[in-house]
Amino acid sequence: MSQNETTHKKETSGETGLKASDIDPKFKYRISKLPGAENILLCFQCGTCTADCPIARFDDFYRPRKLVRMVQLGLKDRLLSNDIIWLCSTCFTCVDHCPQDVGIANIVRALRNLTAEEREMPVVYKELASNILKTGYAYVIPSLRLKRREEDGLPSLPRANLENLAKLFDITGLSKTIEKV
């Protein structure tokens, strides 16, 4: 069992008590200023998001309702140090079904963005970012594939403007985030 799962087990069974220092009361306001997360305070914990979440059915710990509650409670540290936030598959079922228009998937995105900026990110995102920076495409397309396109009668692929991409990565802050990780 990973350390994360152990922590989770303890939390759900109430073994680890909360200390006042674990709480950042302003965290919910910070999140509510991020795009798509404006309605976080409207969540009344009905649990529709978790009930309809396909990931929650296959993972013992991923519960969107709980993530929103943790933001409301200000448990910033627990959220940003938790692999669980990377499990949302962005199917947007929770967004469409939420009776309060909370935009849960956007809140998860906001948590991921903060985690990437301040702490870490799964290695796959670093690879995708690096591929886009180097080629414009999210995957490095092998030359064999490009030759095969010709044989299949497909047009050659449009090229990327790598100078533009490097600039956009810099000014949107992504370059800094990737360097740090």
């Binding site: 296959f58 598959s89 199917c91 469409d96 886009i132 495409y137 594939r145 692929l157 449009p158 600039k167």
Partner: protein, 288 residues
């Protein structure tokens, strides 16, 4: 017919050429001309989890390129559609956001104006070409073939931006299947996600999720599953053997790109529609 700028995205040229080959064949026959983008960059979807602004700016850059070429975009990928369409609508509606993103774009000499529209292949087929013209092009109706549909997420959700007819029970792909003469069977949880976006984070979950769908599709007796997104297709076709190993369960369900199904009905041969490039053998359904 209007021309479209084809936005093929990243996964199609990387490993799902069969989708592009079959789409090109079908659209060409229906009189749709596809034009290439002058430049390309990923729509930004894969970067949204790590930097929302980077995603917005990359998508906006693609939209600017389409505006410069004075063409509407047609995507083949649900992910590209979801991202480009959402960003396009959001920037058109939200002046403040548009101003912020244009500040970034100014640095590369571009400006988002809001003069293009983003469509997915299924919208171009159903709305622009229309069912009457597709019907006229059908030469070999596919009945009594029975298939199941997987529309996928980003072409219908979030409903606020997707413009889908009904995000709980969308009819577009269903109707497009029926027009070929094939029957579209109902099954449990049709609108469930394929799980592809987290395959690189925790593969066990998407493999189980996709396996569950294959089980539902098999249980209603569908002879094939029909998709309209390279990521969904990758999950059900390329990964089907891996799913079978993981769940210790046999499926052997052919997974077709919708234009392969339509192409068959229009009289193209399986070779012309790149059936050979499918991982799960689909010869059972073409030698009816």
């Amino acid at each position: 017919m209007p021309n479209y700028l084809i936005f093929r995205g990243c996964l199609i040229p990387y490993r799902i050429s069969s989708y592009e080959i079959s789409a090109k064949k079908v659209l060409d026959k229906l009189g749709v001309e596809l034009e290439e983008m002058s430049e390309f960059n990923c729509c930004g979807f894969p970067l949204d989890p790590i930097n929302h602004d980077t995603m917005l700016t990359l998508a906006a850059r693609d939209l600017c390129l389409a505006e410069q070429q004075e063409l509407n975009i047609m995507t083949l990928c649900n992910g590209c559609f979801g991202t480009l369409n959402h960003v396009n609508k959001e920037l058109k509606e939200d002046k403040e956001l548009k101003g912020r993103i244009n500040e970034y774009l100014k640095e590369i000499g571009m400006e988002f104006k809001g003069t293009t529209t983003v469509k997915h292949l299924i919208h171009v087929l159903a709305e622009d070409i229309g069912f009457d013209r597709i019907k006229e092009a059908i030469q070999k109706p596919l009945n009594p073939l029975q298939v199941a549909q997987h529309t996928g997420c980003h072409v219908v959700r979030p409903a606020k931006y997707s413009g889908a007819d009904d995000s709980e029970h969308p009819m577009v792909l269903r109707n497009l299947i029926e027009v070929t003469g094939a029957e579209c069977l109902n099954y449990i949880d049709e609108m469930e996600c394929c799980g592809a976006p987290i395959i690189g984070v925790k593969p066990e979950i998407p493999l189980q999720l996709a396996g569950e769908k294959l089980r539902h599709v098999r249980d209603v007796g569908a002879q094939a599953l029909v998709t309209v997104c390279p990521f969904c297709h990758m999950m059900y076709d390329l990964n089907q053997q891996r799913i079978e190993r993981t769940l210790n369960e046999k499926f052997s369900i052919p997974v077709l790109h919708y234009p392969q199904l339509l192409g068959l009905a229009m009289g193209f041969s399986p070779e012309e529609l790149a059936f050979k490039q499918l991982r799960v053998n689909a010869s059972k359904i073409v030698t009816r």
